[in-house]
Amino acid sequence: MNKDLPRWATAFALPLLNLLSALLVTALVIHLLGESPTESLAILINSAVINPEGLSYTLFYASTFIFTGLAVSIAMEAGLFNIGAEGQMYFAGLGLTLAMLTFDSSLPALFLIPVGMIGAALFGALWAFVPGYLQAKRGSHVVVTTIMFNYIAAALMNTVIVKLVPPGEQNPASRAFAAAAEMPRLNQWFPVLGETPLNISFFLAIIALVIYGVVVSRSAWGFKLRATGLNKHAAHYAGIRISKMIIIVMLISGALAGLGSVNSIMGSTHYLSLNFVGGAGFIGIAIALMGRQHPVGIFLSALLFGSLTQGGFDLSLEKQNIPPETVILVQGLIILFCGAMENLYAPALAKLLKLKK
């Protein structure tokens, strides 16, 4: 955080400048690839925001990203860098799927959705528990253990999914759930959204953001959470049980990452497939950093990454010289400018503001 700048500058002006820098570098790359940057930007914006169906896809991706972003953010508030949202969400998909495969023929939709969410949250939390426990009681650094757990999750799922493949199928995926297990899609109320996977998970994500905001900055528990993150010694002095706090925060973080899988599976594919997470957990890190762990910031960054995912996909379809991987390049640049070099423009901005006074 920069000390000399007013709040609005650090909260909005700096991220915006960093974002523009990332886009500028992207424009250069697109130019070098032999395509027009302006045209490409127009395609990207049109497909991600202006076209209603495109917008609905943007919001669909953003719903998942909000959950993973929240997962990384809440751990960050306690001073823990949870790199493992990817693996937690992946393992949570298994919990959700097991719950669905067990209950989807016996329970009505009204119960299936909460059961799926509980299954996902439980498995996500479980996957984060071990790193949390090791950090709290043994001092094993959570960054190292969560990265390891990403790999363990990937290897484990390779083995487990094979067992779930229905007889006679070639596809490494579980059977599809019953229709009752599908999250209600928004296009049934808003036909303008077209053929879209956007579902009520989006509203669940908004609710999660609000709860997160209230708990972190208004509750006594949130106060203890932030105190632990900012000064462990003072937290101990204040009577906060730090090891318990670490374990609980990691459980919550894992559960939030796990809830991201509800949107991906129950909202869209309706079956468990290999690598369904597709980097959403890692994007959560970028969202937490760029959104500065603030609910509004997380929401806006999730929207940004959602539109990049959607717009970038269409861009690579329309422009032959632009490979689909360009999206990853843009995401990488945004992380570079907003995370690693977030204060690049701070001195210049501080000078400018001083001059104006």
Binding site: A220, W221, F223, Y237, G239
Partner: protein, 509 residues
């Protein structure tokens, strides 16, 4: 004779704050010059200008009569100015030799130069009796020795003017004495020393002349021989300081804390506390005197629940303090606080406050669970009002509860911590080094607060390495050395020599 350093009309402002206004005085060559003033009086700014960290808005600095342009610390070093900071600038896991060479390596191959530098260091050490092994690693050295390394570094860079910022804040009495020996040797060699300190006794002990600053201006520049501590204190604060604060007659009540046979060993089975036993009664202040690092910090940590003793019994208001099992020990500070034990920790920045939190947030640290409603939420409107009242009655400046506490001066941070703990209406107050790094005016107000607390019937256990403070506050004095209590005195028996002997480990026999 030409003065070594002369300030002429130095002014510097930061935004609306005038840190230095028309500062002019001269420092004679080969003298020790004291610079005193409260926190925020402008001493550090002035020295930072001399050392090239800041550039003055106006005025000149003359070295040996020549006007100099000092734009950065390289310029200052080239002109023979050296600075020993309060917080050492040493690489902990490198040797003394490497630390000295750091920044002046000169060339790609280190080895050839090392031997030469080492020889020179040994020569300097011998000449100034610095007693530092150039091949020792920094983290093996005591604080006093580390400071000598800083001094060594400056001499090696041929500094003729040495600025020392609060050099004795971290030193024991013996280390301070040996530092002063070194400074006297310096003076004999014709070097000039500028000493910034809060401790007026040191000014009288070692300086030749002294400059007092207040509010960014020079209030007086006088020869030390003609002044007294009282004169200096009055000049610093701008009003007479009360030496003997009023207090109710000594009338201790029922025992509040009884410590019996307390033992503490660390992981290597080294005894940190041995056979500690004493009783503390309501309405009295018991001070623990001693050189820092003799077990006082550990004792305070145990009494506040932050650390578990190896064995021993603690009785609070007639009941045993629940030490529980080792696995849930990290919840003890909360339990103890709820029982009525408040704690002003020794290391306020490490333990007492969360620097990145606002003043308001810091006023509820440790009491957050008492203030939450049934939904677990905090009412920040009420907390802000509570904080404003607290800041007003304890005169915390500036009176803005949204300011991050890290931006407040040490004295004001301490006022917030003490106010927070007093507000909890404790039965027992543990106070560690309440006035470390705090200026004279604030010391007085903190002392008044503690005495008022005592008069209202609270039992206070005070740890202080300042005998002045012990004398000003204590009803009884316990002296600690090497983890043991080596003696007990009533305040009427206060005797610096005797306490000094007990602090050095001489038993009362």
């Amino acid at each position: 004779m030409q003065p070594a350093v002369e300030f002429r009309g130095i002014s510097k402002h930061f935004g609306a704050v005038k840190a230095n206004t028309d500062v002019s005085f001269a420092i004679a060559k080969g003298s020790i010059h004291g610079l005193v003033g409260e926190n925020g009086a402008g001493k550090s700014t002035l020295m930072s200008i001399l050392y090239g960290y800041y550039r003055a808005d106006g005025g000149d600095i003359l070295l040996d009569g020549q006007a100099c342009r000092i734009h950065n610390s390289q310029d200052a070093i080239a002109l023979g100015i050296g600075m020993v900071h309060q917080h050492f600038m040493l690489v902990e896991n490198m040797t003394v030799l490497d630390n000295v060479m750091l920044g002046s390596e000169g060339g790609f191959k280190l080895q050839s130069k090392r031997a030469a530098v080492e020889a020179k260091l040994r020569e300097i050490c011998a000449r100034y009796r610095l007693d530092v092994d150039p091949l020792a690693t920094i983290h093996d050295l005591s604080v006093g020795a580390q400071q000598r390394v800083e001094i060594l570094k400056q001499i090696y860079r041929s500094a003729n003017i040495l600025i020392l910022d609060e050099p004795t804040a971290v030193l024991t009495a013996q280390e301070t004495a040996s530092l002063f020996e070194i400074l006297r040797l310096f003076k004999e060699q014709g070097k000039t020393i500028i000493l910034i300190t809060h401790k007026l006794q040191e000014i009288l002990d070692i300086t030749d002349t002294v400059t007092v600053m207040r509010g960014g201006r020079v209030i007086g520049a006088v020869p030390t021989a003609g002044t007294t501590k009282e004169d200096l204190a009055n000049m610093m604060v701008g009003r007479p300081i009360e030496n003997n604060l009023p207090r109710a007659p000594y009338n201790p009540g029922a025992p509040v804390l009884r410590v019996e046979n307390l033992q503490l060993s660390d992981d290597q089975q080294v005894k940190l506390l041995a056979d500690i036993g004493f009783t503390l009664r309501a309405g009295e202040i018991v001070a623990i005197a001693g050189v820092s690092g003799n077990g006082q910090s550990e004792l305070m940590e145990i009494l506040s629940g932050m650390r578990l003793p190896t064995s021993g019994k603690l009785e609070f208001l007639g009941k045993d303090l629940p030490f529980g099992t080792r696995s849930d020990a990290d919840g003890l500070p909360r339990t103890f606080r709820e029982l009525g034990i408040a704690h002003v920790p020794e290391d306020r920045l490490r333990d007492g406050v969360v620097k990145a939190f606002s003043v308001m947030h810091n006023t509820i640290l440790g009491y957050q669970d008492k203030l939450k409603n049934k939904w677990g939420l905090l009412n920040f409107k009420a907390i802000a009002a509570r904080c404003d009242a607290l800041m007003k009655s304890f005169d915390v400046r500036p009176d803005n509860h949204d300011l991050r506490i890290g931006l407040l001066s040490g004295g004001n941070q301490q006022k917030v911590v003490i106010a927070r703990e007093v507000l909890a209406q404790p039965k027992l107050m543990l106070v560690g080094q309440p006035t470390r790094g705090v200026d004279i005016g604030t010391i007085e107000s903190i002392h008044k607060q503690l005495l008022a607390l005592r008069d209202s019937g609270v039992a206070i256990l005070l740890v202080s390495v300042e005998l002045e403070e012990v004398r000003a506050l204590a009803d009884r004095i316990l002296v600690m050395c090497g983890g043991r209590i080596t003696g007990e005195l009533k305040i009427e028996e206060f005797d610096t020599t005797r306490i000094g002997l007990l602090m050095g480990g001489m038993h009362k026999s």
